[in-house]
C-alpha cells in the first residue's frame, strides 16, 4: 500500500473492571477514508474511538496513530498526537465560560502558540465553514444544541487535524437539529481528512461512508462497504441490528 494507514489497532483489548468492552480488535484505517462505526449500545463503539487519542487506555494491545503509539505516548508526545486528532463529543463539551470564538482559539494559542490575531482569523474561518460566523461572540448557553455541536466541530477543525473522530455527534440533539450537524460533517468528507464517525444515523452512513464497521460485544462483526452492509449483511447480528434500526417507524430520509 502506498500510503501508510492513519490508524492501526493491534489486538486491542479493553476492560472496565470485570467488564470486557473490547475483545481483541485488529484494524487499519486508510488515510482520507470515511468510516462509520455502528452497533448496538454497549458494543464498544465509543470506547473504540476514545482509545485512539487515549481518552481511554487499552488494557492490552497497541494503537498507532500516524505510526506513533497512542497507548504508550506520554507528556509532550501525547499532546502533539492529540492536537493532530480532532474529537467531537456526544455532549459537545464546549467550554461554557467561553464564547464560541474563544472555544476555538484556546488550543490555537495555548498549544500551537499562535497569536491572538492569528487564532481569531482561524476561528472566523472555521466558524464560517460550519455556518456560524455570526455566532462567534455567543456563549454555548446562548446557542441551540445543533449550533453548539457545530461550534464543537469548528473547534476540532481549528488545529488542522488529519483525523477527526465523532462520538455519536447527533445523539444528544433534538431531531430537527440532526440534519444541520450531519450536513457539516458531510462537507468534511473527501477533503483529505480521515473521518471516523460513531453514529446510529444509518441514512448518513449509507450515503457518506466508504466503509462500515459493525461492532457487537467488543468485536468487529462486520467490516464492509456500505452497499454490501446495507444490501446483504453477512452476520445475523448485523441483520438483526439493521432490521431494528431501519424499522418503518424509523426515519432514514437523509
Amino acid at each position: 500500500m502506498a500510503v501508510p494507514p492513519v490508524i492501526e489497532f493491534r489486538d486491542v483489548h479493553k476492560s472496565f473492571g470485570a467488564l470486557e468492552v473490547i475483545r481483541g480488535i485488529t484494524l487499519t484505517i486508510d488515510r482520507g477514508s470515511v468510516v462509520v462505526v455502528c452497533g448496538p449500545s454497549g458494543s464498544g463503539k465509543s470506547t473504540l474511538i476514545r482509545m485512539v487519542n487515549r481518552l481511554e487506555v487499552p488494557t492490552r494491545g497497541d494503537i498507532l496513530v500516524d505510526g506513533i503509539s497512542s497507548t504508550h505516548a506520554r507528556g509532550e508526545e501525547l499532546r502533539r498526537l492529540r492536537t493532530g486528532v480532532g474529537f467531537v463529543f456526544q455532549q459537545f463539551n464546549l467550554y461554557p465560560h467561553m464564547s464560541a470564538r474563544q472555544n476555538v482559539t484556546l488550543a490555537l494559542r495555548k498549544v500551537l502558540g499562535k497569536t491572538q490575531a492569528e487564532a481569531d482569523a482561524v476561528a472566523d474561518e472555521v466558524l464560517d465553514r460550519v455556518g456560524l460566523a455570526d455566532k462567534a461572540g455567543n456563549f454555548p448557553g446562548q446557542l441551540s444544541g445543533g449550533q453548539q455541536q457545530r461550534v464543537a466541530i469548528a473547534r476540532a477543525l481549528a488545529t488542522g487535524p488529519d483525523l477527526l473522530l465523532f462520538d455519536e455527534p447527533t445523539s444528544a440533539l433534538d431531531p430537527e437539529m440532526i440534519g444541520e450537524v450531519l450536513t457539516v460533517i458531510r462537507q468534511l468528507t473527501h477533503q483529505g481528512i480521515t473521518l471516523v464517525v460513531v453514529t446510529h444515523e444509518m441514512g448518513f452512513a449509507r450515503t457518506v461512508a466508504d466503509r462500515i464497521l459493525f461492532l457487537d460485544q467488543g468485536r468487529i462483526e462486520e467490516d464492509a462497504h456500505p452497499d454490501d452492509f446495507f444490501g446483504a449483511p453477512r452476520s445475523p447480528r448485523a441483520r438483526q441490528f439493521l432490521s431494528q434500526i431501519l424499522s418503518p417507524l424509523h426515519t432514514v430520509g437523509d
Binding site: 501525547l78 492536537t83 463539551n93 464546549l94 465560560h97 484556546l106 495555548k110 473547534r155
Partner: protein, 239 residues
Amino acid sequence: MGLSIDWSGVLTGQPLHWLLSGLAVTLAITLVASGIATVVAVGLTALRLSPVAPVRLATRAGISVIRNTPLLIQLLVWYFVGFGLLPPGLKAWMTGDHPWSVLPGQVSLFAPEFAASAWGVGLFIGVFLAEELQAGLNAVAPGQREAAASQGLSGWDTLAKILLPQALRNAYQPVVGQYLNLMKLTSVTCSIGLAEITYQARQVESFNSHAFEAFAVATVLYLAIGFCLERVLLAGRRA
C-alpha cells in the same frame, strides 16, 4: 458601678493613633495573607490533580494536618519554630532595616510577627479555599477535562483556563466566605504580637481601661472592612 462611656478615651490622641495604625496593619495583613492563600489554594489544587499518586497522597495529608489543628497553635509554631528554622542570612535580612517596608505603627512587612502571621493565616485559609475549589471542581462535568485533553492542552492550561474558572463559578459564595474568614482570623495574630486592630484595642484597654469603647471601635472597624471586602468580591463575580 454602672458602665460609663467616654468615646474621647479612644477617639483622640494616642489611643486613636494606635487604633488607626492597627487598622492599617489589619488591611495589610489581610491583603498579603489573601495573596498567599490564593497561591496556596491554586497550588494545592494542582498538586491534587497530579498524575503522581504519592504527590496526591502527601497533599491530602498536608491539608488534613492544617485543617484539623487550631490556627493559634499554627501561628505559634510558625513564629517560634518556623522563623528559627529559616537560613540565618534571610533572618538577618528580615529583621534588618527596610524603611520602605514599614507600615504605620512601626510594623515592618518582613518582621517575624508580620511574616509568620501572613504565612500562617494565608496557609490556613488557603487549605480551606482549596477544599472549596475541590467542591467546585467536582461539579465540573468530566467532559470538560476530556475536551481539554483531546485538544492537547497541558495539565496547567487545563486547570487554569478550563477547570478553575468553572470551579470558582460553582463555589463562588463559599470562596468569598473564606476570604472574609481570613480577614477576621487576622485578629488571632495579636497572640504573636502583630500590632493589628485587636492588639491595639487591648493596648488602649490597658492604657486607660476604656475596654468597651476600644473593642466597640475595633468591632466597627472589622465590620466596615468585612462589608467593603464582601462588596468588592461579590462585584468580582460579574466580571
